[in-house]
């Protein structure tokens, strides 16, 4: 695939990220029709390999299966690929990064035959033709090839230039490399700088002074830059929760979630900067609300509720004089509780649909608030919080954006702590776009409660060929604190 050089998390521009994650191309095989082509490719390879083993090369079935393979490769290439790779990772078949659970079992012999030849990845390029198919089928029909070097030379001798085989797959990125760790640490530093900057803003506002917007703009620019380089490093920061600095951490988490969602929606860089700043400041009006009301454990009285509701207009009031390229921070502060169905607050004279940014921020605000422990309730598990958001589609939240948000985060987002079917406890460190229910996890605590010295990495998409189902599944998502985990971010 065209982005194989940079890897799935090394996208350079917002446009690239959007292309990789927008609703239309969340996974190259996200629609049934597209997926059918991937499945057909694997079927064609398996049939060609079987026929090559059963019949002589001149047999009509072999010829037919080669034609079918050429057609199947073309079918996938037509979807917009420059080349397509079939991967085998832990005996499970993938086309590109898309897992094919059923095929992994059905075509188990193909997997075995490939692995027996030292092959874990086959890449077909767009000019794949009959002569390439003949060479590949011949490779699968011979028992003499036992390793990748021989396999490569076998194909080379037969002039196959449009099919390549490899011993390892790009899926096996077991853990983040050193460079990514640096990015992760840099992102954390940006986060902490952000908390400081937001604290300064809060202090200035409380003192009735004008705050400086420059540090906040730098923060957004920095986060965006890191987001473009390593989206996971930035999104993972939202796993940082703080009880004491809730407001500050929350605003930065909302900013990060909004930037990530804005990127998947395909917003341009200028729009993302405006969205980011709006997401940092949308709740600024709360500095004018007494803390004892904000942190009250019990239910609010009608009067208290009115005071709390005033924070939207108060926020807009505080932001009304900020004149940048637009006045979105003020608008988002005013609109973020108006809801998709416009039944929220503050009252607006003439009904007007919430602005895109207000919808994005409202969604990210709700998610981060729900998944953070508050004085009046414990944190809600991420999967449950997402269920609440999905339930609120068309009412509090925009249906399309909510779907995009869930597709972006996955059902078990980065940083979610999960109990696995083998009773071990793990933290999700990467969401698999092709299977939102089966992320990649790091197993921190075994079934008996022993903490691992070096957490093992599991891709939950992996299929147990014996049973034809996933080897290990998520039993439930649990609050990190319940598992005894303090700072989930450390494990991302």
């Amino acid at each position: 695939m065209s982005d194989s050089d940079t890897g799935p998390d090394r996208l350079e521009t917002p446009e690239e990220m959007a292309a990789a994650t927008s609703a239309a191309s969340r996974s190259p095989f996200s629609s049934a029709k597209r997926l059918a082509r991937a499945k057909e490719l694997v079927r064609a390879i398996a049939v060609a390999a079987t026929n090559a083993a059963l019949y002589p090369a001149t047999h009509p079935s072999v010829a037919q299966s080669m034609d079918d393979l050429v057609a199947a490769v073309g079918g996938v290439i037509e979807l917009g690929f420059e080349d397509v790779t079939v991967n085998i990772y832990k005996a499970t078949l993938f086309v590109e990064d898309h897992v094919l659970p059923e095929e992994s079992t059905t075509y188990g012999k193909l997997v075995d035959d490939l692995l027996a030849r030292g092959i874990s990845a086959i890449t077909f390029s767009e000019d794949f033709a009959r002569n390439d198919a003949e060479a590949f089928v011949a490779l699968m029909g011979t028992d003499g090839v036992k390793d990748i070097t021989t396999a490569l030379s076998f194909l080379d001798q037969r002039g196959a230039t449009n099919v390549a085989v490899a011993e390892t797959t790009t899926l096996a990125d077991e853990d983040r490399g050193e460079a990514n760790k640096e990015t992760r640490d840099k992102a954390r530093k940006q986060y902490e700088t952000g908390v400081t900057a937001m604290r300064d803003v809060e202090t200035q506002v409380k003192l009735g002074k004008v705050f400086e917007i420059g540090p906040l703009q730098s923060l957004v620019n920095g986060l965006l830059e890191t987001l473009f380089r390593d989206p996971a490093a930035v999104l993972g920061l939202t796993a940082i929760k703080s009880h004491d600095d809730y407001t500050l951490n929350h605003s930065i988490n909302v900013c990060i979630l909004s930037l990530s969602l804005g990127t998947t929606l395909g917003l341009d860089e200028e729009s993302l900067k405006s969205l980011g700043l709006s997401a940092l400041l949308y709740d600024l009006g709360k500095v004018r609300i007494p803390e004892d009301i904000l942190n009250k454990e019990g239910p609010l009285t009608a009067d208290e509720w009115q005071i709390v509701k005033s924070h939207a207009a108060e926020g807009a009031d505080l932001l009304k004089r900020i004149q940048l390229m637009d006045q979105m921070p003020m608008i988002v502060a005013y609109e973020h509780h108006q809801r998709h169905d416009l039944k929220g607050y503050p009252d607006i004279g003439e009904p007007q649909e919430q602005h895109l940014f207000s919808k994005v921020v409202a969604l990210c605000d709700a998610y981060d608030a729900m998944t953070t422990s508050r004085p009046f309730r414990r944190e809600i598990r991420p999967d449950k919080a997402l269920a609440v958001l999905m339930q609120g589609r068309g009412k509090a939240y925009d249906p399309s954006i909510t779907k995009g948000f869930v597709a972006m985060l996955g059902i078990y987002p980065m940083g979610a702590v999960v109990k696995l079917s083998d009773a071990s406890t793990a933290v999700v460190f990467r969401v698999n776009r092709d299977d939102l229910l089966c992320p990649r996890v790091k197993v921190l605590i075994d079934a008996e409660g022993r903490w691992a010295d070096e957490p093992a990495i599991l891709d939950l998409r992996i299929i147990d060929r014996g049973t034809g189902s996933h080897s290990i599944t998520i039993s439930e998502c649990i609050p990190a604190a319940d598992a005894g985990i303090d700072d989930v971010w450390e494990y991302l």
Binding site: S27, K320, M330, L356, R377, K403, A407
Partner: protein, 639 residues
């Protein structure tokens, strides 16, 4: 886990210590260099231990130092020398703790620089530096065993494998439980940790806690349950509890909950037995208390179907694409400018202050530029109401001025699309005064023919300012522009624009004058007629003829005196014979008998030899004949 940056700084620690060791060895005590290098080491150490939030431990190899698995400052002669020196003392690890002083460093370097065999005789480098008062720099000699004792006391807690420490801790806890049950308990963990020099103590406690985490949960809970069991003297196993108290809050909260379940007590009572700092205490309290509000009360569904949510989230429909396109369309600068103004107006509604008024003013230019004239008009009306309040008058004035930005007005006017908006635009432009009028004029010049009627309507709503602005432009503009503006005034049809068009009649460009005549023709007023008539005497024959043609079209007898005036002009300097001939023809056609005397004068001109004057004379003669005949006929009719 040490970040990359801290790791780099940690290398500096080794380099700085090596430099200090070399300086102490090479320079005389009187030199300032040893003191400077020691001070540098102290500073670097402080920074690194602060960043690492605790002691930093280096493994000492025969010729190198390692931090974790990584060799640091590899190949540097001074560092190799320091490693060799320490290794000669059988040092396996070097620990640098926060709070290190220059005195301690000097003492350490003095001891380390001494002869290794002599140091060994005094009990080894570890004992010697402790004796010298060095507490924040520690060394661990090359052995996993801290002593010849069995069990925990026999382990070097700073370096022994965690899987060796864990079972030893468990045995110690069991031993405590047994001894406590029968009288005075023996706190082996406390004894071992307290026996370490302070630099190593924190590290040892951390490693014991880490070892506990590698035990299974039931065993870990058993250790805590045993440690809180009081002995006959009411003492608990403080050494174990101090280690446990240093665990992180969530880990500790879970452990306390499990231990409480095991002992049949509650986690709160276990917490009271731990020496916790106020922060840790608060964090634990929050973790251990039940949620004030249930999930159901927070709107969380009791059961969730994760598969259904996942399918729903990735399902793609055409409706989704359409809905998304609509949502994305709200990201539109013009729309946002309107929202911004509407929002500032809502804020103003909540309470008018100078600031909220100014924010309305600041939002107005963008809204104007976006063509949101109805909203801007409302905002101006909202501001008008506030002029009653003297304390706000200045702010209102500033806000109103802010709405009158030429570029914004022009942009907004160019975006006009319908008549209702044009009416609001007219009000806004009028409120903007001269600037508004000038913007309308400019917009007219830049607009297509289709949009110009809307702009004329706006001009009509503010005629005086509009005409004045056009006049200024006519005076300064280039011919093409002025011709366009003359046409615009013609469409305006306002008699007040005649004076401006009269200016155009004097314009040096003929096409401008012709346009002005055409415009004047459309204005049904005496003044415009007079202006056209005046053009008959224009020295440019084409201009005068155009005026004549206009007069001819309208057939106005009132023009006759002016026409006669043209006829009486001396023609020596001008070449208007054709015009005069046409005038003669026109007065004849009109039956303007009052022209007879003038015509007779021309007809009687005898000294005419050139062709054109002769033709003129002949025409005059014919006209006189016809007019006299007509006059006579009229006279007879009267009779």
């Amino acid at each position: 886990m040490m970040s990359g940056q801290v790791q780099l700084r940690a290398e500096e620690v080794v380099r700085a210590l090596a430099a200090a060791a070399a300086a102490v060895r090479l320079y005389p005590p009187t030199s300032e260099i040893p003191a400077q290098t020691v001070q540098r080491f102290v500073q670097v150490s402080e920074a690194v231990t602060l960043a690492a939030r605790g002691p930093v431990r280096f493994v000492v190899e025969p010729k190198a130092f390692k931090l974790g698995d990584q060799i640091v400052a590899e190949g540097q002669a001074q560092v190799t020398g320091l490693a060799e020196m320490l290794y000669a003392h059988q040092v396996g690890q070097l620990i640098v703790a926060p709070g290190l002083t220059a005195d301690e460093t000097n003492a350490f370097l003095r001891c380390a620089g001494s002869d290794a065999s002599a140091v060994r005789e005094e009990g080894g480098l570890r004992a010697v530096i402790v004796q010298a008062g060095v507490s924040q720099l520690a060394v661990i000699e090359v052995t996993l065993r801290a002593s010849t004792d069995e069990g925990l006391a026999g382990l070097d807690l700073t370096s022994a494998p965690l899987d060796a420490i864990g079972p030893a801790v468990l045995r110690s806890a069991a031993s405590w439980a047994r001894s406590a049950a029968s009288g005075e308990g023996r706190d082996e963990i406390g004894e071992v940790i307290n026996g370490l020099e302070s630099a190593a103590r924190e590290l040892a406690a951390e490693r014991v806690a880490a070892a506990l985490l590698q035990l299974d949960e039931a065993t870990r809970a058993a250790v805590l349950a045993a440690a809180i069991r009081p002995d006959a003297g009411g003492r608990v196993m403080e050494g174990a509890l101090s280690v446990i108290a240093n665990m992180r809050p969530a880990t500790l909260a879970r452990l306390m909950t499990l231990a409480a379940a095991r002992t049949g007590g509650d986690a709160g009572s276990i917490m009271s037995k731990l020496e916790l700092g106020p922060e840790a205490m608060r964090a634990l309290e929050l973790l251990l208390r039940p949620s004030p509000r249930t999930e159901a009360e927070s709107g969380v569904p009791p059961v969730i179907d994760a598969s259904a949510i996942a399918s729903d989230a990735v399902a793609e429909t055409e409706d989704d694409d359409e809905a998304m396109a609509m949502v994305l369309a709200t990201r539109d600068p013009a729309g946002e400018a309107v929202r911004a103004l509407a929002t500032t107006m809502c804020i103003l509604d909540r309470g008018a202050t100078a600031e909220s008024i100014e924010s309305v003013g600041e939002a107005m230019p963008r809204a104007v530029a976006a063509g949101a004239f109805p909203l801007v008009r409302t905002a101006l009306a909202q501001l008008d109401i506030l002029t009653d309040r003297p304390e706000l008058q200045d702010a209102v004035e500033r806000a109103r001025r802010a709405s009158a930005q030429p570029e914004a007005l022009l942009e907004g006017l160019l975006a006009l699309s319908d008549a209702p908006k044009a009416r609001d635009a007219a009000a806004v432009a009028a409120a903007a005064g001269v600037v508004g009028a000038e913007a309308v004029v400019e917009a007219w010049l830049l607009s297509s023919e289709a949009k110009r009627p809307l702009l004329v309507e706006i001009g009509r709503a503010m005629p005086e300012q509009f005409i004045a602005a056009t006049g200024r432009r006519i005076r300064a503009g280039d011919p093409v522009e002025v011709r366009e503006l003359a046409g615009m005034l013609g469409r305006l049809g306002d008699r007040r624009s005649v004076s401006v068009l009269s200016l155009a009649l004097d314009h040096q460009a003929r096409e401008v004058r012709l346009a002005a005549i055409a415009a004047l023709e459309t204005i049904d007023a005496e003044e415009s007629w007079a202006a056209i008539i005046s053009a008959l005497t224009h020295p440019d024959e084409t201009t005068a003829r155009a005026a004549l043609e206009t007069i001819r079209r309208t057939g106005r007898r009132r023009a006759v005196p002016a026409m006669l005036a043209v006829l009486q002009l001396r023609t020596s300097g001008t070449r208007n014979h054709d015009l005069k001939r046409e005038i003669i023809e026109d007065v004849r056609t009109m039956g303007a008998t009052e022209a007879i005397p003038v015509l007779k004068r021309i007809a009687s001109n005898r000294l005419t030899f050139r062709r054109k004057p002769r033709e003129l004379r002949d025409a005059a003669r014919r006209a006189v004949t016809d007019l006299q005949a007509a006059e006579q006929a009229d006279g007879e009719k009267v009779r």
